[in-house]
C-alpha cells in the first residue's frame, strides 16, 4: 500500500510543560496521534485519555488454554496412550498433574501475552519503524499529530496551538510507506 502520511510535530523539552500541553491541545479539539518521550512520563497516558490495556484478558485466556492443554495432554498420556502405574497411584492421578499444569499455564500466559502485545503493537520483524525525530531517544518529547485525522482543522492553526502550548519547535514530517 502506497500512502503518504503527513504529521505535524511539536517538540517539548520539559515533561511538565508536555503534560499541560497535551491537555491544552486535546481541549482545543486537535486529535493527537501519539506522544514520544525518551523515558516514561508519569500520568501521560492518563492525560492522553488512553483506555486501560486489555492485555490481562489475553493473558487470562492464554493461561486457561495452557491449563486445559496440560491437563488434557497428561490425562491422555497417562490414562489412554501409555498407562503407567507410578508410586502406586491411579493412572490418572490428578494431584500429580498440578505442577505441569501450573507450568504450562504460566508458559502459555507469558508467551501469549508477549505475542498479543507484539501483534497489537505492530512489532513484527519486518516492520518499518517510523522515526519521528531522532531526539526522542535523547532529551526531547515529541507530540505527533496526524493531518489526515484533523482534516477539519487548518494546518497553520494546529501549529499555532502547538506553539502556544509550549512547544520549542514545530516541524512537519512525512512518511512514504
Amino acid at each position: 500500500m502506497e500512502r503518504d502520511t503527513h504529521f505535524v510535530l511539536g517538540v517539548y523539552e520539559d515533561e511538565d510543560v508536555l503534560l499541560d500541553a497535551v491537555k491544552q491541545v486535546r481541549s482545543s479539539g486537535v486529535k493527537i496521534h501519539e506522544v514520544y518521550s525518551p523515558y516514561p512520563v508519569h500520568g501521560l497516558e492518563h492525560v492522553l485519555g488512553y483506555k486501560r490495556s486489555r492485555l490481562p484478558i489475553a493473558a487470562f485466556l492464554f493461561g486457561i488454554l495452557g491449563t486445559t492443554l496440560a491437563l488434557t495432554m497428561q490425562f491422555y498420556m497417562m490414562k489412554f496412550d501409555w498407562p503407567m502405574i507410578i508410586g502406586g497411584k491411579d493412572y490418572a492421578a490428578f494431584p500429580d498433574f498440578i505442577p505441569v499444569s501450573f507450568e504450562m499455564t504460566v508458559l502459555l500466559a507469558a508467551f501469549g501475552m508477549v505475542g498479543v502485545f507484539m501483534v497489537s503493537s505492530n512489532l513484527k520483524p519486518w516492520a518499518q519503524p517510523r522515526i519521528f525525530d531522532v531526539r526522542i531517544t535523547d532529551d526531547k518529547h515529541v507530540m505527533a499529530i496526524d493531518i489526515a485525522n484533523n482534516s477539519a482543522m487548518d494546518q497553520e492553526k494546529i501549529k499555532e496551538i502547538l506553539k502556544s502550548s509550549g512547544a520549542t519547535e514545530v516541524n512537519n514530517k512525512s512518511f512514504d510507506e
Binding site: H42, G88, K89, P95, D96
Partner: protein
Amino acid sequence: MAHEVQNFNLDQKFDFTPGIKKSIMTVLLIGAALLVLGIVLAMMGGGHAEEGAEAGGHAFHWYQRLYANIWINNVYFTGIAIVGVFFFAIQYAAQAGWSAPITRVMLAFGNWLPIAAVLMIVTFFVAGHDLFHWWHAELFDKNSAEYDKIIDGKGAFFYWPMEKGTFPIFYIVRMVVFFGFWVFFFSKFKKIAAAEDQLGGTSHWFKMRSWSAYFLVFFAVSSSISAWDWVMSIDTHWFSTLFGWYVFSSWFVAGLSAITLAVIFLKGKGYLEMVNENHVHDLGKFVFGFSIFWTYLWFSQFLLIYYANIPEETVYFVERLTSDVYGGFIFVNIAMNFVLPFLVLMTRDAKRHGVFLKLVCTLLIAGHWVDFFLMVQPGTLGHNGGVGLMEVGMFLVYGSAVALVVLGGLAKGNLIPKNHPMLEESYQHHI
C-alpha cells in the same frame, strides 16, 4: 514544594464510639450464647467412652473439644496479632512509602498480644495434657507398654533439661520467650511511634527501622518454632519440614485480610481520608499474592507426602481425607483460601473497590480459621471433632474480643503517623 497532605486532618484519632462497641459486643454475646449452647449439648451428648477407648485408651470428654477450640483460636488470633506487628516492621525495614498512613492500623493489632500470651500460657497449663499427646509420662517410660521410641527421641525438645515425661520446661520457656520478645518489640514500636508524633523529625523513623530489622530476625526464627510447638507437636509422630512457613503463611493471609478490613472499615467511617484506592489496591495485591503463596505451601506439603507415600508422613492426610468429619473440610479449605480469592481478586477493579475486598477478606479470615481447625482438631479430638455451635461460638467470641482490643488500642493513639517522613510520598502514591 507544597505538601498536599497538610490539607488533611493529620491529628485525627479514631473515636471508638459506644455504637461500634455495642455492635461488636452484640456479636460477642451471640458467640457466647452459641458457645454455651454448644457446651451444654456436648455435655448432654455424654462422653462416648467406648469409642474413646478404642482411639487411644482415653475416654473422650466434652471439655476436650472446648480445649481444642480455645487452642485453635489462641493460635489463630495470636497469629493475626503478631502479623500486624510483622507487617508494620516490614514497612519500615523495606523503607516503604505507600503504607505510611496505615502503619498505625497494622501496629494496633499487636494490642492483642499481651492478652494472647496470658490465654496461651493458661490454656497450656490447663489443657496441655488433653491437647498434646507428648504430655503423657508413660510414652517415655521404657518399662511401660505405652513406651514410644519415636516420641522418646523427640522428648528433649519439650522437656530439656528436665527428665522426659516430667514437666515440659523447654517448651514453656520458648513460649514465654517468644511472647515476651513479641510484646517487648510491640511496645518498643508503640513508644517510638508516640515519640514521633510528639517530636517529629526523621530520627524516629531511623530508630523504627533498626528495631524493625531486629524484630524481623527474631520473628523469622520464632514464628517457625512456635508453629512446630503449638501446632505441629499435636501430631507428635508426624513432621513436615515446611510446617513453620505453612503456618506463617496462613497467619499472614489472615492478618493481611484483617488489616485490609480494618482500613476499609475506617475509611467507611470517614477516617483516613488520604488513603485512596491506590493504597487499597496495594493491600489487595498483598492479600491476593499471599493467598496464592499459602496455596503453594499447602500443596507443596501435600504433593510430596502424597507422592512419596511414606506411611509415617501419609498418616497426616489419611487421617483427614478419609475422615467423615474432616474429609469435606479439606476441599472447603482450598475453595475458601485459594479458588474463590484467586478468581474474585484477579482483576484490578476488584482489588481497588471495597466491596469485593470486604467479601474476600471476610472469607479468608473464616477460611484460615478452617485451616487451623484442620491442623488442630484431628490430632486432638479425632472423630469427636467437627464444626458445631461450639466452634462457631468460640470463633465469634475470640474474633469480637480481638476487635474490641485492637480498636480500643487504635483509639488511644493518633490514627495517622503525622510526622512520618514519607507521608507526602504516600499521598502521591499512584498505581
